[in-house]
């Protein structure tokens, strides 16, 4: 009897609040929530900074801004970094929209860079620049797409877990690049990465990074149109919403998965090409520098919308560059920027909850519910 009473008591217990899904939120309300989250995050970061060091947080944030946009060179640097991060974020977006968790961007970028570097070393002296650069682009696209198609093939054929598969492919790519860098370094085996002289991207209007930025701008526009207005983009959304629905209305899900992953890998390959031929003019195993992972957060924070992605990638680059400036000026360890970035991302992730759901306080008391 006591047991039953207990059970009844439990089932009648009404928690003081409950969570309900919001149907639609006005866009400006969503942005207010996000901005509040960032402000709270900055406050928390400021508090942590004071606790760990004796730096004045207001001064710290000014240092941060100064470190990112203080000189024209810094601004170009920031735009360049934003472009690359944006490019990788755009690459993972179609796969994510399809709910295919491609976390192998890091590897796909590196493999694209590797293809570019191989062309630059072995064909550099023999071919004129336009043909060489065309070959570099094609090979980086092909290899990047291949690196993404391997997990996609096994996903469609045998339903292998794509998250784990793409994750493992990253480390194979990293080791391959490390091997190649060592073999190709001058003098051989020294580990100093070779400077790739042939096939560097042209300098436009005296700005070294302008061509990178323009290429990524074009990709952004194309991706936006592709996802929003093309039939293939629509198919991606349907597969992402419900695979069963997609099958029911006659979409060939396997074909869509393979095609979308090929696109995803191809754009990662282009990002690798831009890093090697446009920015670094060399290839190291950390050329992608974790941006393949950061891009996942950028894409998700922007709700898979290419236009918002411009803003979110700018925000992340700003935070990273700014925080590393702080650690440089105040002679903190350079990893300080990772902590700051981490905290701010946590808060933005948390803010999404308040955008998607609302918390309702249960006003009625227990008796009325019975």
């Amino acid at each position: 009897m006591k047991k039953i009473n207990n059970f009844l008591h439990q089932s009648l217990y009404v928690s003081p609040f409950h969570i309900a899904k919001r149907d639609n939120i006005v866009w400006w309300k969503a942005w207010i929530i996000r901005i509040i989250a960032v402000l709270i995050a900055l406050l928390v970061c400021g508090t942590i900074t004071i606790a760990l060091t004796d730096i004045n947080p207001v001064k710290m944030y000014f240092t941060m801004i100064d470190g990112v946009v203080g000189t024209p060179r810094l601004v170009w640097n920031m735009l360049q970094n934003t472009a690359i991060l944006l490019c990788i974020s755009l690459a993972v977006t179609p796969a994510f929209k399809m709910r295919f968790w491609n976390i192998g961007a890091e590897g796909q970028v590196l493999i694209g860079g590797l293809a570019t570097a191989i062309c630059m070393i072995f064909l550099g002296e023999k071919l004129p620049a336009p043909i060489l650069i065309t070959l570099m682009i094609i090979s980086s696209i092909v290899l990047g797409a291949f690196w993404a198609l391997v997990p996609a093939y096994f996903k469609t054929k045998f339903n292998s877990n794509e998250t784990l598969f793409t994750l493992m492919m990253n480390y194979i790519a990293i080791q391959l690049v490390a091997y190649f860098t060592l073999e190709m370094s001058v003098p051989k085996g020294s580990g100093t990465p070779r400077v790739l002289e042939y096939g560097q991207l042209p300098v436009l209007f005296g700005q070294k990074y302008l061509i990178n930025i323009l290429i990524v701008a074009v990709i952004t526009v194309i991706m936006h149109i592709y996802l929003k207005y093309s039939k293939q983009g629509y198919e991606i959304s349907v597969v992402g919403e419900s695979e069963k629905t997609a099958r029911y209305i006659g979409i060939n899900v396997k074909k869509v998965v393979l095609r979308t992953m090929a696109i995803s890998g191809a754009i990662c390959g282009i990002a690798g090409f831009l890093i090697v031929a446009g920015t670094d003019h060399s290839l190291k195993s950390d050329s992608a520098g974790g941006r393949g992972f950061t891009a996942i957060m950028v894409s998700w924070l922007a709700k898979f919308n290419p236009v918002f992605m411009v803003l979110t990638s700018l925000l992340i680059v700003f935070l990273e560059k700014g925080a590393s400036k702080i650690s440089e000026v105040y002679r903190l360890n350079s990893s300080f920027s990772d902590i700051i970035t981490g905290i701010i991302i946590f808060f933005i992730i948390g803010a999404e909850f308040f955008i998607n759901y609302k918390i309702k306080v249960n006003l009625k008391d227990k008796e009325e519910r019975v």
Partner: protein, 325 residues
């Protein structure tokens, strides 16, 4: 020499064993925690910080406290990381991959930041963090380690954390397979709707298993610094062992008992190049690729054979909201 290779393989494998046991417990609840590499850094640096402050504050170490303090700090630090992950993914319903990757950035940042500036923050004048006294206690070998020849070397010559790793893996294996709690946990990971309908608290199981899993993984970081690296912290010294632990989870098809052997095999692949005569550095790099290649092969083979008990938990990485089922 074979005894030495096995001994070194076990020592290399132990951090991976801790990491993969922790991640298996986490993944069994349906949480794909990609924050494990960050959590292992936090586990390491929390232990180092606790031990560093203790070593600075007393003249003679009490061996019992010298072990207890870093152990407790490490467990608390990494469990806290697990709590952040759970709060964001379970309570705030955020995406697991995004949260996990952010946690890794954050955790590695914490590890390297405090590793680099702990001395400055505590305001002492030692040149570097070198916890050799604590490390000696952590490395105390069992008796008979040297009196029984190779047998002693293979089985008795480790610090206590190696045995802890194996025992924890065996206990986890038992709990998952043989107990009611384990059954409930697996139900939550395979089909949270069913578990919920059966009256199992999905939220509670996810929280507890993820926090315990994180604490276990964090011990892997602690073992690495205190035992393997002789108590010397070096930034990024832990390397990609966190990701290798996640690979080991797949390799051992979500069974902690298999991951004991798997960790030794991974460790073996890690140390074997040093014993091959005339090996070049670049060939060594190719050897480091092997664990990942093997893992992918296991992933492919298990999905082709499609045996139910060798698959990842069915709801792995998927969110569960009761209102949306």
């Amino acid at each position: 020499m074979i005894a030495t290779i096995i001994q070194r393989a076990v020592m290399q494998g132990t951090p991976l064993l801790f990491g993969s046991t922790g991640e298996i417990l986490t993944e069994k609840s349906g949480n794909l925690n990609l924050g494990i590499p960050g959590i292992m850094y936090v586990g390491a640096i929390s232990g180092v910080a606790g031990s560093f402050i203790y070593e600075q504050s007393v003249a003679v170490l009490n061996p019992f406290l010298a072990i207890l303090i870093p152990l407790v700090c490490s467990i608390l630090g990494s469990a806290l990381m697990g709590l952040i992950y759970c709060f964001l993914t379970v309570s705030m319903r955020a995406n697991q991959n995004v949260t996990g990757l952010a946690l890794t950035t954050f955790g590695i940042g914490i590890g390297n930041f405090f590793g680099g500036s702990l001395i400055k923050l505590v305001d002492t004048d030692v040149p570097s963090i070198s916890l050799s006294a604590t490390s000696t206690i952590f490395k105390t070998e069992l008796p008979f380690a040297h009196s029984l020849g190779s047998f002693g070397e293979i089985f008795f010559s480790y610090g206590f954390l190696v045995y802890v790793a194996i025992i924890v893996a065996l206990i986890s294996s038992h709990v998952l397979k043989k107990t009611r709690t384990g059954l409930h946990l697996r139900a939550v990971g395979e089909s949270p709707e069913t578990a919920d309908a059966a009256g199992i608290s999905v939220t509670k199981y996810k929280y507890i298993s993820t926090c315990i899993g994180s604490a276990i993984a964090g011990l892997g970081g602690l073992y690495y610094v205190m035992d393997y690296a002789n108590g010397v912290w070096s930034n990024n010294g832990f390397g990609d062992r966190g990701w290798l632990s996640i690979a080991l989870v797949i390799f051992s098809v979500w069974r902690p008992s298999i991951s004991i052997l798997g960790s030794i095999l991974f460790g073996f692949l890690y140390v074997i190049p040093t014993y091959i005569p005339n090996i070049t550095v670049s060939t060594k790099i190719l050897f480091e690729m092997l664990p990942y290649v093997v893992t992918i092969l296991v992933l492919i083979i298990t999905s082709i054979r499609d045996k139910k008990e060798n698959q990842p938990p069915a709801a792995l990485g998927l969110p569960y909201f009761r209102e949306e089922r």
